[in-house]
Symmetry: C6
Subunit: 76 residues, 6 copies
């Protein structure tokens, strides 16, 4: 992937940090399976499965740990 999609881990607010964690989680998937058509076909498999959604939320939680530490937890 030649484009710049992650210039920094710093965000203005915790909520933007959480959304960056989602981006990181999705990028982890896309690097593993770059074909957008395949990804689109797989979407119902996890987005309509309770286990799949919990697993997705777990990856987001792990990435949110990283982003939160990077931002000193937005302690201000």
């Amino acid at each position: 992937m030649a484009d710049t999609w992650l210039p920094s881990l710093i965000t203005a607010t915790p909520q933007e940090g959480f959304e960056l964690a989602i981006t990181l989680s999705r990028r982890g998937v896309k690097y593993t399976q770059p074909d957008m058509e395949t990804l689109k076909q797989l979407r119902p498999e996890y987005a309509q499965s309770a286990d799949g959604l919990t697993a997705a939320s777990q990856v987001i939680a792990i990435n949110f740990q990283t982003v939160s530490a990077a931002n000193n937890y937005w302690r201000g």
Copy 2:
């Protein structure tokens, strides 16, 4: 999601921090599957499954690590 749902990771007590960890876990699910109707239908799938409940508790535990660190573990 345009609304502000995460203005801060700081909470007054560990228990409120734990409840924020639950909110973060649920938000991870909702960002992945925004359709409330689908989410409602999936609920019995994990809330009445031992594996599903343990998995949910694990995501909460990971998010609670983040919230606890943000609050310096409420050491006072």
Copy 3:
């Protein structure tokens, strides 16, 4: 849940800290499935399954990381 069940993450000993980690793990389950009757019915599903027990032990381990850090590892 209106009651106060988590006033502090500080415990006198590592063992009490481990037991607090168990409490946190169970609370994560109870917040997700508050119905005690359902929880009782699900108990054999994980308490008599090797995978279920390992998964439960993993959630405890994650929460024990949090409690241990909060207590500076009881280094004295």
Copy 4:
């Protein structure tokens, strides 16, 4: 459990720390299923399953993180 099994997280060597991590992982299981007879019957289920062994090794790894941090990584 009335007995004292975890007086400290401090160990003399990394290897003893790893063995303490194993103890913590087993205790997490025993607190969840205290019946020794049931535990004995479940043993083949994970000790003779590749997935079960990897999962057991993962819980040990998580607990070893805690013990290692407690001991300042035995940096001497």
Copy 5:
């Protein structure tokens, strides 16, 4: 493996750090199964499975925690 593939955890940007996390995740697989032919055959099994992709993204997230901490989160 005799070649040097990991001289440093330091990267110039977060994005390069994320890509290093992917390398670490793949190396973990290759050390366990060094036969490239077998790995090639297994690829469709996870790259075309929603669960497999989420699991892959999770390993990347864990390794990205390590790389991010090593780089002080590229705080500059």
Copy 6:
């Protein structure tokens, strides 16, 4: 296990640290199932399964976090 296999978490390079993480992951398995014959029989079960390899890579990633922190990320 009476032999000394883990005298230190310190390694000269990140790559040796990664290899130590692999050793730790395997030791976690061996402590749980010490019978080498059984382990040999189980090998195809995970080394030829995409899920098994991803799970193995995840345990390595967790142990690599520990080894990396112990070595201050080899920042030099």
